[in-house]
Amino acid sequence: MDESVIDRAVYAELRDTTGAEFAAELVDTFIEEGPSMLAELRSARTDGNAERFRRAAHSLKSNGNTFGALKLAALARELEVKGLDAESARDGAALVALEAEYARAAAELKALRNG
């Protein structure tokens, strides 16, 4: 397991304050909802809709922080604060990085949830 993906202390606190069963359910929800948030980011970018883009990035940041997926949260926050870039190549690269980090975070969380 790569401890740089999920901050163990944050996840442990979440599990302790809400209960192991609930924390597992919450992970499942995040894994269910994550792909649609990423898809929303892409579609907002295609449509040039800055508000939807910012909101989707904001949502991913918020969830990243909840689970201790700190790198994911940082990447999402960057997109939220910067907004849609005039130079879309940069957004493209940032999105690819975000999607890759999401995949890592989801895999780690799945492992933590079962362990």
Partner: protein
């Protein structure tokens, strides 16, 4: 469910956040409902009772700022406590929430200990506000109470044109001595309920209750179009309600009760007096004294409702009035003309009839 359980609305567009907040609320022993955006949140707030709103800022359709603005403009919802839970960027956004009336701001992810403390504080504040409202409603109609709560309880008086009504139960002391204390309290409760009903339905406000007596204002704290007419109409209704009440009493072989009412109209000085901790709406002036003297004089005059000249002049011809001539009241330099208002059932009495009004039949 615990008795002090409150109902919270959680508005957040993100499912993970909604679940997490609802879990926190549930663990605190409160009930909750969920809204996915600001529009749905407002719909729920307007159709169901809630004690507190946990509000996200970034939401589709209607965001948290818009919800705060609409709550502020809504008379029914302006006091709804709101705790903003958000990870919105920028201090200016947090300041904006507070300026729009949010009670508190909690950054996400929300710390459960902080959530518990803030929810507890907000609910306690709401309970205090609700208790204050309930207290105000005890001496004012809901409309007046709302006005008072909105304008705040500024201490200090102002001169207002109003009608003052005094009323009490005739022979109350003898009545108290003839029955047990429980029965007296019971009687007073029924009596006050009937009197409040008659006064409130004509736009009046009861501002004092002393034993079996009460003082009501018409035209203060809120202006009334026809304060004299409203006060006299309330007086007539009070007499009528007592007559009905007496029918019930006579059915169980209890003595009829009679009331005396005095109404005077003119300038009064009214306002809140006291301290910020304990204030009462007070009304003083010659008009108040005169109304009180008129009420006391009903015993002598043998009429149930006595009014002064200003009240009489403001009344239309629809109310039958009898001139009783001038009376010199204690504490008054000059004699004043007084008038009796005859209830509709008394209009056929002969002009010289000074017999006490019978309310029992």
């Amino acid at each position: 469910m615990a008795e002090d359980s409150s109902r919270l609305l959680i508005a957040d567009d993100n499912k993970v956040n909604r679940l997490l907040l609802s879990r926190g609320v549930e663990l605190l022993g409160h009930r909750f409902a969920l809204a996915e955006n600001g529009r749905i949140a407002l719909e729920k707030l307007r159709s169901e009772p809630f004690d507190l709103l946990l509000l996200d800022i970034e939401m589709p359709e209607l965001d948290g700022f818009a919800v705060l603005e609409q709550l502020k403009a809504d008379l029914q919802l302006r006091d709804m406590p709101v705790i903003v839970t958000s990870s919105v960027e920028g201090l200016d956004n947090i300041v904006r929430c507070i300026n729009l009336g949010a009670e508190d701001y909690l950054p996400k992810p929300v710390n459960p200990v902080l959530l518990k403390a803030r929810i507890g504080a907000s609910l306690e504040k709401k309970r205090l506000r609700d208790r204050q409202k309930a207290l105000v409603r005890r001496f004012a109609t809901p409309e007046v109470a709302d006005d008072l709560l909105q304008s705040g309880f500024a201490l200090g008086g102002k001169r207002i044109h109003a009608s003052v009504l005094f009323s009490d139960i005739r022979g109350f002391t003898a009545l108290v001595e003839s029955q047990g204390p429980e029965e007296t309290i019971d009687l007073l409760n029924t009596y006050y309920m009937l009197m409040f009903d008659a006064i409130g339905s004509h736009g009046g406000v009861v501002n004092q209750m002393i034993g079996d007596g009460l003082m009501a204002l018409f035209g203060a704290p809120l202006p009334l179009d026809d304060c004299a007419g409203s006060a006299v109409a309330a007086g007539l209704e009070m007499v009528e309600l007592i007559e009905q009440f007496n029918l019930e009493r006579s059915a169980v072989k209890k003595a009829a009760i009679r009331i005396g009412i005095g109404v005077a109209t003119g300038d009064v000085v009214a306002g809140y007096t006291g301290t910020q901790q304990r204030a009462t709406y007070t009304c003083i002036g010659d008009t108040v004294n005169l109304a009180s003297r008129l009420e006391a004089h009903t015993k002598v005059a043998g009429h149930g409702i006595l009014i002064d000249d200003a009240t009489q002049r403001a009344l239309g011809s629809s109310v039958p009035i009898r001139t009783l001539g001038e009376v010199l009241f204690k504490g008054k330099a000059a004699a004043v003309e007084i008038f009796a208002v005859a209830p509709p059932s008394q209009t056929n009495a002969s002009p010289g009839d000074r017999a006490p009004l019978q309310f029992s039949r």
